[in-house]
Assembly symmetry: C2
Homo-oligomer: 215 residues x 2
């Protein structure tokens, strides 16, 4: 099978927002509380940030564990990498992901302001100023035959949707989380039904998994 | 995480049977029609026996694809290997799985009648006459740090359940398939609820996934 471009474990509020308003270094999700959006994933055995043993091993865990399965590269928007806008004022700050980023593959950061690549642990960040199809080509080359994850945020997912480049999407909607404003992915998942099949799977945890694949 | 023992993609009829009555060389599932029990899996993109491209890529596909994920060995009962009972009358016949068995790992076949190991493609069949805990130790040793799949059939799953050795089970029940007799796994999944958590997940395809993990 050819290499796929996949959105995986993308957290969404019940009203369709991937992140809140007012992103800053201290608040990567703006006014949204990322712990609320990630609560379903944090309860699973496979959640990489667990501090205690245990965790559920049902449906949610299958999907969390799937995050790395056969993934050879990630594409993300600049705002998923960090808080700075415009020219890079601070090259010393290496993004939100710490010394051990959770990607473990090459990561392509889309930005109009290039800077040199660098490596943290087993993740290398590259900065690219290209249209989505070109970025995808670069990521597939780097992925060594494996699939490519499209990490978001919302703006980048919408660009790749508009370009017809996404093969599958897993959107995890937390229906009890309402943001009211921020970066909106959709008014309703039905907006994608013309182009994608969709399994809508309510999990016992309360999160509603939306699994899209191309028609 | 330590090595797990997992039942995966185990097909079950709506009335709790894993296989029908009257197993023979021609009818591995006895009076049951395996195509009915496997229909949900056969519709997915990841089904290994697909002859046409395409196939669904939603929930069912995640679970079918998961069959091989981090699995280093399989344990199965003698009746999943072949139709012969008692002493091996025919050593030339190498089981139901063809020249390219779908396991791609060592397989441990539980039988009171030993015979020499043999290899077909990248699957090696070993024949063992031990209690479940010993067989599991052998399979874990062979799995090179990965998990072990318990392939069934029903008799073997019940033996390992009774011995308290199974960590997770994925049972795919086809509610519209009724067998009436054969090898029964349960009267109801509730029989396991004292020892296991369970996510019961109806798929849009009609199959009902039961995902168990230890309490």
């Amino acid at each position: 099978m050819s290499q796929l471009l996949k959105v995986q474990n993308f957290f969404l509020s019940g009203d369709g927002f991937g992140t809140g308003e007012g992103q800053s270094q201290e608040r990567p999700f703006g006014h949204a509380n990322p712990a609320e959006l990630a609560a379903w994933a944090g309860a699973t055995a496979s959640w990489p940030n667990r501090t205690d043993p245990g965790g559920s091993m049902g449906l949610d865990d299958h999907l969390v564990r799937d995050f790395h399965y056969n993934i050879g590269a990630e594409i993300m928007g600049r705002n998923k990498f960090g808080y700075q806008r415009g020219e890079w004022a601070d090259h010393e700050w290496l993004g939100w992901w710490g010394d051990e980023p959770p990607f473990h593959t090459p990561v392509f950061v889309m930005t109009h302001h290039l800077r040199p690549s660098f490596t943290l642990s087993d993740t290398t960040f590259h900065f690219v100023d290209d249209e989505p199809a070109i970025v995808l080509d670069k990521a597939k080359d780097a992925a060594d035959g494996k699939d490519v994850r499209l990490g978001g945020g919302v703006t980048v997912i919408r660009e790749f949707l508009d370009a017809g480049l996404i093969d599958t999407l897993h959107i995890a909607m937390s229906p009890h989380v309402t943001l009211g404003s921020g970066e909106r992915l959709w008014e309703s998942p039905e907006e994608l039904f013309d182009r994608y099949h969709c399994d809508v799977i309510p999990s016992p945890s309360g999160v509603i998994h939306h699994l899209f694949w191309r028609k």
